[in-house]
């Protein structure tokens, strides 16, 4: 059983939950940027948690199935079609041998997820099938899909009972062109002036076209750092501190302009002051914003972040329960 890539789309990669736990060797996690959509796609087709799927960015591929399969598409609204006929999203459906799955233009969000019953079978590298394209590791040959690639699909049981299973409408997120993203202020926020911290939180930022899996860059304001004599080991730029680790979701502001939120494929450490970190739940929301979308950052405390994570886990457990 395989999927043949007739057209690859713009940036279609094999991703799973990610390669967490390898920061000590400087390895970022990679993995699905929008964890919710990726996981729910797996639930729909009855996959084990963590089965690899495809992350489809901005412009969809054309994929031919060489055998029948049960599949589901979630995430960004990029209306899928089988042999030119519309098929539902957030719902498991069956494709037959020779069917071609394609996608209409993106309408909202940025990334769609395709799960196939059995999962995409690529070699496991460091306990993950996720693609880290920057250095060519994991996924399908360490890169985005290309025309004529063939992807193997793992063994799936009889998935016929899953066809038509759908996520309840009220559980499906919407992806407005303006997002509010919650952040916890720190680790080096003391480097920013108080006025600039207010500017950071009051500005409606615009996502720049170079936002990608490595990081999201924004424009719309200028931030000032507290002037100081730089300590030994920090660079001369006031945006620099002595090197430390960068959490996924951390926000740095090189030169005081254009904040960057580091995402799944980012460098794991360095010497830019990180002024805050996007809470894990809202990385999903951030991953569904795209070029020219608007973003506001709202400061929350750790209790609110943990509560949001707890609620998200409950919601995912409910969805999984309803689909089992």
């Amino acid at each position: 059983m395989a999927i043949r890539v007739l057209q690859p789309g713009l940036l279609t990669t094999v991703q799973d939950t990610g390669r967490f736990g390898e920061y000590d060797i400087g390895m970022p996690p990679s993995g699905a940027m929008d964890v919710f959509s990726y996981q729910v796609a797996n639930y729909l087709v009855g996959n084990e948690e963590g089965a690899a799927g495809l992350e489809i960015t901005y412009f969809g591929p054309q994929l031919e199935f060489t055998e029948a399969a049960v599949v589901a598409v979630t995430g960004a609204e990029m209306p899928p079609k089988v042999n030119g006929e519309s098929v539902p999203t957030w719902e498991a459906f069956r494709v037959e041998e020779g069917d071609v799955l394609s996608f209409d233009y993106l309408r909202s969000g940025a990334r769609s997820y395709l799960a196939v019953a059995g999962g995409i079978e690529v070699p496991v590298f460091l306990h993950s099938r996720s693609t880290y394209t920057l250095i060519g590791l994991g996924g399908h040959e360490g890169r985005k899909l290309q025309q004529d690639d063939e992807l193997r699909v793992g063994e799936a049981g009889d998935g016929s009972g899953r066809v038509g299973m759908a996520v309840a409408r009220e559980q499906i997120p919407s992806y407005p062109a303006e997002a509010e993203i919650r952040v916890i202020i720190g680790l080096a926020s003391y480097r920013l002036t108080e006025e600039s911290m207010r500017t950071f939180l009051d500005t409606t930022w615009t996502v720049t076209p170079d936002a990608d899996r490595v990081g999201y860059r924004y424009r719309g304001g200028e931030l000032q750092f507290v002037e100081r004599e730089q300590p030994a080991g920090a660079g001369s730029d006031q945006a620099n501190v002595v090197d430390f680790g960068y959490p996924v979701g951390s926000i740095q502001v090189p030169g005081g302009v254009e904040p960057i939120v580091l995402m799944n494929d980012a460098v794991t450490g360095g010497g830019y002051a990180t002024i805050g970190t996007v809470i894990s739940v809202d990385r999903d929301k951030l991953a569904q914003t795209g070029t020219n979308h608007k973003t506001r950052f709202r400061s929350v405390d750790l209790a609110e972040a943990l509560q949001a994570r707890k609620e998200r886990r409950q919601k995912m457990a409910e969805i999984r329960q309803a689909l089992s």
Binding site: T57, Y58, F59, D104, Y105, P209, D210
Partner: protein, 79 residues
């Protein structure tokens, strides 16, 4: 004659020329054939050529150089 449009396949920034020193790919009044490049879209640090799928005469260019565009947005009108 029926009007056709060439759409942007993806969101990003539209460029009418391959680099700042070059002429525009196309101008109003030009004839284009299927496969001709009419512009570039920049997104995620790379550039993607937008090609005509059908031939025709360009009646209007609907987007300014370096304007942001959305997926499926009309860029060029053909007649």
């Amino acid at each position: 004659m029926a009007e056709k449009t060439i759409k942007s396949p993806m969101p990003g920034t539209f460029y009418r020329r391959p680099d700042p020193e070059s002429d525009t790919y196309v101008s109003e009044g030009d004839e284009v054939s299927p496969g001709d490049t009419v512009g570039l879209i920049e997104v995620m640090k790379s550039f993607h050529e937008v090609k005509a799928e059908e031939g025709g005469t360009i009646s209007r260019i609907l987007v300014e150089d370096e304007d942001p565009v959305g997926a499926g947005q009309d860029l060029v009108e053909l007649e």
